[in-house]
Amino acid sequence: MAWMAWTWPTAAFFAVIVVILGVMSWLAIRYPETPRKGILGIETTRGDRLFISLLVAGFVNLAWLGLALGPQWGALGLSLVLTAGIFRTV
């Protein structure tokens, strides 16, 4: 696999996503849910809210980098706050 030049950050990034998907699957089996309507006016499940959160996190990180707002950890923190908000209200 050395020829593919894998790096640890890439592996960590996808490992986190795999873990999140695993946890979400476990939650779906253990605590089934019904979709609900939030502030966007669309029916969402936990999976939808996760997807929206990940998209938002992507844009937040790019904006943070592009506008040079400081170390990238800030964007991660902001994304986590937004994710909490999305899971509660969307």
Binding site: A5, W6, F14, F51, L55, G58, L62, L65, G66
Partner: protein
């Protein structure tokens, strides 16, 4: 009796493996390249977020994005009204309507690169019908050199290729309107415009939303047709996002910047696709509930 059978999960396995090799692993590779630099020879150096930073401040990328948005906006502004107009004027029933439907569907069946080639020849001043005619009329038309000529040709090509899709979708929407609505309109002596505004347009809302999103998504990642026709020129006049991306990744072999660029592109496409998915599922629910 056993009501659950977990063996069904095994049947999903081939699809999972296929998707892993066709989508997941390539995507992981792109992410991996986006944080590294290479000078060839398969030797890579860690670059961190450098490429993302560079691409976010790259005038070239923003220019390509502006051109892309302009292109998508222009073709939507032409294709949607034109498609509705064509659909309204198509024969309602009988042999003519079938013939019309088949003729309308023809451009949709032609592969992208062939469409590009057709228009490339069509627009040539020496042998092309369009180019030769315009030249004979004394109009200075050369899509390989003129900025406006190139844009007009690229847009005309897309309109020619895809207006039928909008028209066919709008036609399907129109056909689903019960005759009672038109009878009621006649009793009220509604004008042609009122019939369109209050009966036909609301009833076409669903299909038109699909048409607009489909055309936006497709035009946003257009590559083959303008590549064959103008190759992104003259200069960079018709270099849209995907053309620029391929130039960067394969032409200059700048894997890192191109990977960062394509991840941002991917993020935008994901948002549009998600909106499309939400609209589609909500339309299904509305129709199911009605």
């Amino acid at each position: 009796m056993k009501t659950r059978n977990e063996k069904a999960w095994l049947l999903v396995l081939p699809v999972l493996i296929l998707v892993a090799f066709s989508a997941v692993v390539p995507l992981m590779t792109v992410v991996n390249y986006s944080v590294q630099d290479t000078f060839g020879n398969n030797v890579f150096f860690w670059a961190g977020l450098e490429w993302f930073d560079e691409m976010l401040h790259s005038e070239r990328m923003w220019n390509a994005l502006v051109r892309q948005l302009a292109f998508s906006g222009i073709i939507l502004a032409i294709e949607v009204p034109l498609g509705i107009f064509v659909a309204l004027n198509m024969p309602k029933k009988g042999a003519w309507s079938s013939l019309c439907l088949v003729l309308m569907a023809l451009p949709l069946l032609i592969p992208w690169n062939v469409v590009g080639t057709i228009w490339q020849i069509f627009g040539r001043v020496d042998i092309g019908l369009l180019g030769h005619t315009l030249d004979a009329m004394g109009i200075d038309y050369n899509y390989t050199q003129g900025f406006y000529a190139a844009w007009i040709t690229v847009i005309a090509m897309d309109v020619w290729h895809w207006t039928s899709l909008v028209a066919l979708l709008a036609y399907a929407g129109l056909r689903s309107i019960p005759d009672a609505y038109y009878q009621a309109a006649r009793i009220d002596q509604a004008s042609r415009w009122s019939v369109f505004r209050y009966i036909e347009l609301p009833k076409m809302r669903g299909v038109l939303t699909i048409a607009i999103l489909l055309r936006f998504m497709d035009s946003f990642k257009i590559y083959t047709e303008p590549f064959v026709l103008t190759g992104g020129g003259p200069g960079n006049a018709t270099t849209f996002l995907s053309i620029d991306l391929v130039k960067m990744a394969l032409g200059q072999f700048d894997l890192g910047p191109a990977a960062a660029f394509s991840l941002m592109y991917f993020l935008v496409i994901m948002v549009i696709s998600y909106v499309f998915y939400i609209v589609m599922t909500n339309l299904d629910k509305q129709e199911g509930g009605a």
